[in-house]
Amino acid sequence: MTTFVWLLPFFPAAGAAINGLFGIRWFSRGVTAAIACVSMLVSLALAIAGGVNAARAPIAREVFLGEWIPPIPAVTLKGAAAFHASWVLLIDPLAAVMALVVTGIGFLIHLYSTAYMRSEPRGSYARFFCYLNLFCAFMLLLVLGGNFIVMFVGWEGVGLCSYLLIGFWYHKGSAANAGRKAFIVNRIGDWGFLVGIMAAFFAFGTLDFQAVAAQAGRWPIERAQFGGLSIICLLLFVGAAGKSAQIPLYVWLPDAMEGPTPVSALIHAATMVTAGVYIVARNAVLFSHAPLVLAIIAIVGALTALMAASIAIVQTDIKRVLAYSTISQLGLMFLAAGVGAVSAAVFHLVTHAFFKALLFLGSGAVIHAMAGEQDLRRMGGLKRYLPVTFVTMVVGALAIAGIPPLAGFFSKDEILLQTFGRNRALWVLASITSLLTAFYMFRLIAFTFYGTDEPSSPHPPHEAPGTMTVPLMILAIGTIVVGFMGIPRTLGGANAIEHFLAPSIAETRAVAFLKVAGQPDPPGTQEMIAQAREELERDRAAHRAAFPVSEATEGRAWALMLLSTLLGATGMAAAWRFYVNHPEVPRRAAERWSGVHALLLNKYYVDDLYDATIVRGTFGAARELWRVDLRLIDGFVNAWGVTTRVLAWMSHMIDKVGVDGAVNAAGWSAGEGSFLVRRGQTGLVQNYALVIILGLFGFLTVYLLAR
């Protein structure tokens, strides 16, 4: 399978190319949709094969596709090195998991979109699927990239697709603005990322993930000082924060909801925004050597989670609620990564992809049913009309609220458990977050599906067609079962995902081999796999021996589990009470704490703050500088010009009066004097000739006489 790993991004890319080049003009909607979905389906099949393969053989394989930047000599910290980059893909358990998420959820969302976007004009329809396929291709490149540069291609590529898809309805000013905002905020993050890449090259002399991990593993862990590794990690985290919408770069994600709902589901919930988490996981070894940065990450993650959750409580736009929820959940993932539970972060990434995609698609079905209405306050009582949507969305909401045995419970509980082990304060923040999460999620459910008001749409709402509900149902089932791969040992599970991911994350397991695409595995692969598996087993046994399941840890785990379930239930109950039973309570609460309410409603005024400082500052500086350019620099140039012209005028006057006067005087005197000699001019040519001959005669005479 690894031989053909390059086909994974290739198929969506080919689908995008076909739809982009021909579909926009010529294909019908059916053909477009078929091309897009089939390409994703093939990719999904390949990803499943890859996942199975990765499970069987726990080693990383790098696949060489081709030369890119040829080696250029450079002096780095390591001494002489060569800057170069090849098109290399890396397939290991982590990549396999990510590829599965991307292709699986991607395929379902493609399927969903075929119906959701049906009302678009034909050209736009093809354009949409072109972008969507392109996104999947770039996302796969991101997760499969074998070095920083290839990954950066995917990184920027998904940013581009996100830009294009947010601004899909480009004639809407707000959509275009949101797209640009997303891209530029991401670019700010990319600045850090790019500089981080450079720093990594300077430090390690290579940009290959495996090689970087191997090298970083031998650096001392920078516990006390903020050294080179810390700087690299911090810069990389700036990039991750941009892409994954963490403080302070989260502002673009809520605005990104201007895009079509499937886009929000795929890009802004399930896949792209998790790229930041992926980066931290991918470079787990590197980050583990910079504990200070990890601490920063954890704090930022926890704060982001709490802040976003609190904002979500008061939002009235259904998609914005989900957007803030996404930010909050991403914060939880970073919290996990920050406390060192990388596999828990990835686990939550996977489960979150399922239930958040489910929730977004469900909200899409609601919006579809409401003919484009997104305001929660205008909804209500949809339970009757949209039974499938209702059931699936409730499943999603239960999952995110952390109710067992749904997926969200296991992953979130793992995070809370790990955080508790490290830092109680962060644990408190995370717990409050999960309480709030359950609350706002069921507030949303209540607003949408319950309530007495009849929905205020012109025609009665209707359930979405099968192509939309089937993905919903599949995702709901996924939401129920996907958590089972991470059942903790406390509950008698095996925590399969942690073991699966171990080779990618653990420091000592960085074993890879390289091959060229299209060629079979080199001889000896089997032995290598066997060896790797053996080592892994040994390691696992050692881990078990080192951390036995003791009574104390058992008890703590049980208690925490119980607590988090309780928190989720509390939140649900509160939401039920406030918004179903006593709808007037929130209004009164809002009046009572109007300051807080306004603060939350206006998203802590962060957007306004950015606008007032950074955006206005930049534009103001731009205008001022332009004035400087026009007035000062150009003015200097023009002043030179004027000076020269003045000098020229002065010379002109001198010339005219002085020099010209002298010349004229000379001319005048010559003219007057010529009266004396003009007599000689008879005007007869022959007389002149005569003089010539006379001269000749004289000359000859002299010549003769002189002999």
């Binding site: 000689g680 005007g683 007869l684 040519v685 000739a689 001959i693």
Partner: protein, 104 residues
Amino acid sequence: MHLYPITAYHYLVLAAALFALGATGVMLRRNIIILFMSIELMLNAVNLNLVAFSRLNGHVVGQVFALFIVAVAAAEAVVGLGILLAFYRNKETLNIDEVNLLRG
């Protein structure tokens, strides 16, 4: 120097005579065209001289000079006759004595 055998000097004398003839023509005639032709005669005399000297020195450079003179003569004739035509168009005369605008 004798009448026989013929040496290059004889040709020089011949050229001188031709030159003098041309000069005489320039002095004598008032028709501008004939004046021009007289000048051509003089140029020819020069050419004859050059060729004779070329002969005298046993080198071909003289002929090259003569070629240049031919070219110059062609240019002179063309421009001169052009001017002449333009002049004739204005003044209706070819008499050199009537061309005296430069009289002081």
